[in-house]
Amino acid sequence: MSKQKLWIPLSSIVRRALRLTQRVPISSAARTQPILASFSPSNSENCGLFPSRGFDFLGSSKLSGRCSLSTQSAEKVVDAKCWNCNAEAEAAPFLVCRSCRCIQPVDQSVDYFRIFGLEKKYDIEDDNLERKYKDWQKKLHPDLVHSKSEREREYAAEQSARVIDAFRTLNKPLSRAIYILKLEGVDVDEEETISEPDLLAEIMEIREAVEEAADSQALKQLQSQMQEKLEHWSNLFAIAFRNRNFGDARKSIRRMTYYERVNEEIVKKL
């Protein structure tokens, strides 16, 4: 098998570790705090080993308690109050106070779909995602709060980073699929060894084709093939997810992950 430079992000391991910690009942949360504190679990890009922006490494225990990714009900947020002017939160998601325009601390219970006011489903039909993303950045971006208090600048850095992650995650079918499953408490092990014989055989075949592709024409053809396969499995995922058939959903993700990797390889060669 040819050597490839594809790496494991620690975040995927962190996620696995988290699955364990999430089973810990809330009452014992205090005991697990030091561990939890070192992993901000929600975020696949903002990994946990190192302190997140603006937080003191050891003092970040303020994260715990509401760091669970589970499907907390949305309505809870309405109790929230602005830390600055004490005004009641008018609308969810409560990222910015309407009355004083102050940026609020990150609330991990607000999932990525709700950030963009989307229904929690896989096949989002929203061409406006990028627009909404930019609208948020216009309210949250750290560049815009230079003259504000250090506290608000910290919130801006975190909120804006989270919105970037949310956008990136939802914008691509594969990452969206993995994320939505995670919200259901189903973790996808991206490093899992493939055991399905038919997929293994297909992998070998495609791999050979990519390696032997003579020119960019051939590569582009392979690329559109991968695109088709991705769409096909994306549709299958949507069906499986709707039927809450998580086994099939994971199978689709495995396929999509693989075709996506081939795509990356092709782009590198192009």
Partner: protein
């Protein structure tokens, strides 16, 4: 001798620690320091206004003349004649020299400038000097830039009737982080605080975002997303950006840049006119410098004329017995500079590819910078972009400084009742940042064109059995091997539990925050768990100073490959 006109601040002032603690009561001004020309602009409460010097110029030549030890810059001093700038006493093209070592080809190309650029070709900063009273007086690009900035600052303070401290400066896309620290250092020497260093085409993108928003307001529409390609070529650098704009927000999709510019066109032409120039001017006596100056002025003049006419007659007496009398046409000029133009084309292609944007999806093509008048540049941009016309509505020489002034106002927390400052640039990293691993390879951790702020990480492992230490070399650039990239710094991690090679897990994480500060974290994971085994390291970069090429070599000599790392392979 008079006291130097600048105050030398300590290096700590440039580290950015202080950025958060300063107050932002004043409106930051925008400065575009070009290789050849420079301008300064400020938000005046309703729009951006370019400041003029006492000679009513909005664009000032970027140079500093040393006379009797008292330096004076292009902002205030009146040159009696263009040739005076070429007497050896004037230093210019600072932007091409700053933060570069004497092995850099750009520094070598600068040796044809009519002052002293001496290289020893060992990877240290070049020796730069101006001729004062027949003595070569040494200086540095930072010092020259600082003197120039002091004059700009003084000029702005007189006109705005307030002290100036905060500035937004435009910089080339291809500048390394080390070069950025040198710019910050020059600003600190001039008593200026850098609020933001903005890649030039992203400043143009911000101006474009504002113009688009105004158009949308006028049409009462919501203003859908528009993609623009910005091509900016000045005397020293060529930059390209692809930006997606909607509602006053400009998201930088991709950046590409290189140190090619009008200076290269000029040098290639000079070489074409006088092929043995190098050997003729080797001595650098007063006469040689004068000849070089004369040739430079004549060639520059010819290139300008070729933008409007098809051929030009060049007559120049170099004084040393050699005369040049030649007719040059546009085709010849384009032929001599074919490589430069090819590089420009490849930058556009690369930027579009990185942005994952098809040329058909680009709404506007914007051409700015000092080279935008050159017909060949115009044609190649239109050609590659498959367009018949370029975006109108921007002054190509003022777009960058206007964008910088807008950013200055936005970053200072100003708002405008008409929404003219309802703007934001979402920046992307112009260069990849990574570490040395897998032998001598550069392994990017934050790839180029990643949205900022950004945080990424990768896992590495040891190459030797029972290896307990590893060296982390942090590089910035695009090259496959580390030698092709800029070294930003290095540090050692210890405490790896002895184990067969490939078993220990070392996590390297890079973080670029909102103020573009880079922090590198590295830690060893406990075997079987995912917690740090020992306290991890956090290092602010860049940490290396001049002569950084040496450090890597010296470390390699001392340690060989004993402290190397490899990337962890992903299973398929």
């Amino acid at each position: 001798m008079a006291e130097p006109a600048y105050t030398v601040a300590s290096d700590s002032e440039t580290t950015g620690e202080e950025k958060s603690s300063s107050t932002f009561a004043e409106i930051a001004i925008g400065i575009d320091i070009g290789t050849s020309q420079c301008s300064i602009a400020v938000w005046n409460g309703s729009q951006v206004e370019l400041l003029k010097n006492t000679r009513n110029q909005k664009l000032m030549r970027s140079y500093v003349t040393f006379k009797d030890g008292v330096p004076s810059g292009g902002v205030s001093s009146q040159l009696l004649h263009e040739h005076e700038m070429l007497s050896g006493a004037a230093i210019f093209n600072m932007k091409r020299l700053i933060g570069r070592v004497d092995t850099d080809p750009v520094v070598h190309a600068s040796k044809s400038l009519p002052f002293l650029v001496q290289t020893l070709d060992i990877g240290v900063r070049p020796f730069i000097a101006a001729l004062v009273n027949n003595v070569w007086r040494s200086t540095s690009p930072e010092e020259v830039l600082a003197i120039f900035l002091v004059e700009l600052k003084a000029m702005a303070e007189v006109q705005l009737k307030r002290p100036i401290r905060n500035v937004v400066l435009t910089i080339p896309v291809s500048f390394s982080r080390f070069q950025l620290t040198r710019i910050e250092r020059a600003c600190a020497m001039a008593g200026l605080h850098v609020l933001r260093l903005m890649p030039e085409p992203t400043a143009v993108a911000l101006l474009y975002a504002q113009q688009q928003q105004q158009t949308a307001h006028d049409n009462m529409g919501s203003g859908s997303e528009k993609i623009a390609l910005i091509f900016n070529m000045g005397a020293g650098y060529c930059d390209v950006a692809v930006t997606a704009t909607a509602g006053g927000v400009s998201q930088i999709k991709a950046l590409a840049g290189s140190a090619v510019g009008g200076e290269d066109l000029l040098q290639n032409m000079m070489h074409h006119l006088l092929p043995d120039a190098e050997s003729l001017f080797l001595d650098r006596g007063i006469n040689e410098i004068k000849s070089m100056g004369l040739l430079r002025v004549a060639t520059q003049d010819a290139i300008h004329k070729l933008s409007f006419q098809h051929s030009v007659q060049i007559d120049v007496d170099l004084g040393t017995g050699s005369k040049i009398s030649k007719v040059v046409d546009r085709g010849e000029f384009e032929d001599v500079n074919r490589k430069v133009f090819e590089k420009c084309e490849s930058l556009i292609t690369q930027c579009l590819h990185d942005a994952k944007v098809q040329i058909e999806d680009v709404g506007d093509v914007i051409l700015v910078g000092g080279c935008s008048n050159i017909p060949k540049i115009k044609n190649l941009v239109l050609n590659v972009c498959k367009r018949d016309e370029l975006y109108k509505g921007m002054n190509p020489l003022e777009a960058a400084v206007c964008g910088a002034a807008l950013e200055g106002a936005v970053a200072s927390g100003l708002s405008d009742p008409f929404g003219n400052l309802d703007l934001l640039t979402i920046q992307a990293t112009p260069l990849a940042i990574g570490i040395r691993a897998d032998g001598n390879n550069f392994v990017p951790i934050i790839p180029r064109n990643t949205t900022m702020p950004a945080r990424r990480e990768l896992l590495f492992t040891t190459v030797h059995d029972n290896q307990t230490q590893a060296l982390i070399f942090v590089y910035e650039g695009e090259g496959k091997t580390v030698e092709e990239n800029h070294l930003l710094g290095y540090f050692k991690i210890t405490g790896i539990t002895p184990a067969p090679k490939g078993v220990p897990e070392i996590n390297v994480c890079m973080d670029i925050d909102a103020s573009n500060a880079l922090r590198v974290f590295a830690g060893v994971l406990q075997p079987g768990s995912h917690l740090p085994a020992i306290p991890f390291m956090e290092v602010r970069m860049p940490t290396v100073d001049d002569g950084h090429g040496w450090c890597a070599e010296a470390l390699h000599r001392a340690h060989g490959s004993s402290l190397d790392l490899v990337t962890v392979q992903k299973k398929i």
